[in-house]
């Protein structure tokens, strides 16, 4: 799929000499051993708590190193700015920023890019001013966009070596134990920080919930934490977690959600003991609510839920409709409280969730996953990273991971957004390969991937509006009229990695 001349161009870039093109969702044949971190030794009673300035000297942070952060504080994060500002004041330059993702709030980091403090990005997504910066070609080398599982894989295999991990810690005791469920800035699961804590050379907890008392709930253990620094606030609670869940009210989205639930219920994957993942977007929650009604009707219980958690997932957990939950990320206050109090609600790392190079990531348990998409093409390839003009706006996140793991992957999306058709001959950027996508559900009908004849058979005679991809495409084209093709001809400025580390697509300058 990836143009060979593009791959050749990528292989000329220092650090990317060994990058290969995507060759299939399960084509990788990994071997070798996992990366190792330095041996540590601490005598009893050793103090870990210092000023950030002292710690930056103690860890020996130097030009050209890689620093990491997690995005569990989402759009409320204040830690990246705090730490990077301190680093900048020390005159350190040319760092790689390795983050599990970047939100709009990180627009505030732009000056540190312009000053040369940060010259490379390794992330799941970036948008706003940082996205524009990348697409103006101002980084030293192309940014890397990874999936959540792919990032964990890169860290654990040593491909992404982190010198210092700065971990925003809503609660941290004097020994260095951390959790995300207590404290004024509670964010819930710290799943996306766990690989960093396990594999970075140095781990620094940045906390506004310091306590002398040993924690009774530990997400990241003291054995992995070298230093602690205390701040007034690690973030804005309003940006960290939303207050209440957003169930879609749009009629078109409700039609799509209803179709999605009907389709799932018509397959053999809807059964007692099933395992599923719903995203936390409005349509995914609406689909979950229709599925919930069907579960109550048929007296069906799910053995497990996997993936990001919102209040609606918690409701199903509390009702006993989901027996247990494996949770790498929480989106609202209800979910955060549940993680802290419900013993059937388990915190898992990004690696456990989705790393393809492990003995079995949790996504492999999925019977079905309901995911959204920005665009899809006639070969079922999905884009969740760029808009219709190739501009960065989303993130791969766990999309390719869940899609690869699930026995049935259902995409719910409107056929048009405004006048723009979302079903195309070619998506702007391939993030999840079509081979991982089984069903597309739109307000104008449902298309089954021709690779899944078995699913087509399951849906036969179920009074569902089944269409071919070509029919849906013709409908979209008829509604929108003829579009002028948009060329992506700008220079290479980003690599889109599949979860196994191969390159599935690239980002162009605009």
């Amino acid at each position: 799929m990836l143009n060979p001349s593009l791959l050749n161009e990528i292989n000329q870039i220092p650090g990317f000499e060994n990058k290969k093109a995507f060759a299939g969702a399960f084509a990788a044949k990994p071997n070798g051993r996992m990366a190792a971190r330095p041996i540590k030794f601490v005598t009893p009673g050793t103090n870990k708590k210092f000023s950030l300035d002292y710690i930056l000297d103690a860890v020996g942070l130097k030009d050209g190193m890689t620093i990491s952060f997690h995005h569990c504080l989402r759009n409320g994060d204040a830690v990246m700015l705090y730490v990077i500002d301190a680093i900048a004041k020390k005159g350190i330059r040319d760092l790689t920023l390795a983050v599990s993702s970047l939100s709009a709030v990180q627009d505030c980091l732009l000056p540190y890019f312009e000053q040369g403090v940060i010259t490379a990005i390794d992330t799941s997504g970036n948008r706003g001013k940082l996205g524009a910066y990348v697409q103006q070609g101002k980084l030293k080398k192309p940014a890397i966009y990874r999936t959540h599982g792919g990032r964990a894989r890169a860290i654990e295999t040593g491909e992404l070596h982190i010198n210092v991990a700065f971990i925003a810690a809503p609660c941290c005791d004097k020994y260095g134990n951390i959790n995300g469920v207590q404290g004024k800035s509670a964010c819930g699961s710290l799943g996306y920080a766990m690989p960093d804590a396990e594999y970075a050379d140095f781990v620094v907890a940045v906390t506004d919930g310091y306590t002398e008392t040993a924690l009774d709930y530990v997400s990241i253990p003291q054995t992995q934490v070298d230093y602690i620094t205390e701040v007034d606030s690690i973030g804005d609670p309003a940006g960290i977690a939303t207050g209440s869940i957003r169930v879609s009210k749009s009629p078109a989205e409700l039609v799509i959600s209803k179709y999605a639930a009907d389709v799932i219920a018509a397959t053999e994957y809807f059964r007692d003991g099933m395992v599923f993942q719903f995203g936390s977007g409005g349509m995914a929650i609406a689909t979950a609510s229709f599925i919930r009604e069907k579960m109550l009707q048929d007296s069906i219980v799910a053995s497990a839920g996997v993936g990001g958690v919102s209040g609606f997932h918690v409701q199903m957990l509390n009702e006993g409709l989901i027996k247990t939950f494996y949770d790498p990320q929480d989106f609202d206050v209800t979910a955060i409280q549940s993680l802290g109090t419900n013993p059937r609600h388990h915190e898992i790392s990004a690696s456990a969730y989705a790393n393809p190079f492990s003995a079995n990531p949790y996504v492999n348990m999925l019977d079905f996953a309901v995911l959204s998409a920005t665009e899809i093409d006639v070969d079922f390839n999905v884009n969740v990273l760029t808009d219709s003009y190739g501009k960065l706006l989303g993130a791969p996140g766990g999309h390719p991971d869940a899609a690869a793991g699930a026995k049935l992957t259902v995409i719910t999306m409107p056929l048009l957004r405004n006048r723009l058709p979302m079903l195309l001959d070619h998506v702007s950027t391939i993030v999840t390969p079509g081979e991982s996508i089984d069903i597309l559900v739109t307000e104008y009908g449902i298309a089954v991937n021709p690779r899944r004849q078995d699913v087509t058979d399951m849906l036969r005679g179920k009074a569902l509006p089944i269409k071919s991809m070509e029919e849906l495409k013709a409908k979209a084209d008829k509604l929108t009229g003829k579009a002028t093709p948009v060329e992506f001809s700008g220079k290479l400025c980003g690599l889109v990695e599949y979860r196994d580390g191969t390159i599935i697509d690239v980002i162009h300058q605009i």
Partner: protein
């Protein structure tokens, strides 16, 4: 685009709709299109406008389209209404 008080308006500034501002007169057809989807559909919008102008044989006109992603039938209908209002205003 500058208009006098002879101009007529049609449509709304709501998502999926468009606002048409149209004034008869001048020399030839002056068409200005502002749209979020201009890169992909700017040309398609222009064609729709021309179809309506041709149908009413309007050759001297200033027309501004502020489009918010409207589909083609909405664009044609709004332009047609604007043309009719302008003609009515002139007593034609």
């Amino acid at each position: 685009m500058e208009f006098t008080d002879k101009a007529v308006k049609c449509g709304t500034d709501k998502k999926g709709d468009l606002l048409v501002t149209l004034e008869l007169g001048g020399n030839g057809r002056e068409i200005e299109i502002k749209s979020k989807v201009e890169k992909k559909f700017g040309e398609a919008i222009r064609q729709d406008v021309l179809i309506i102008l041709d149908a009413f044989s309007v050759n001297n006109v200033k027309i501004q389209i502020d489009d918010l992603g409207a589909l083609d039938f909405a664009i044609k209908a709004r332009v047609e209404t604007a043309v009719k209002r302008a003609l009515a205003k002139e007593g034609k």
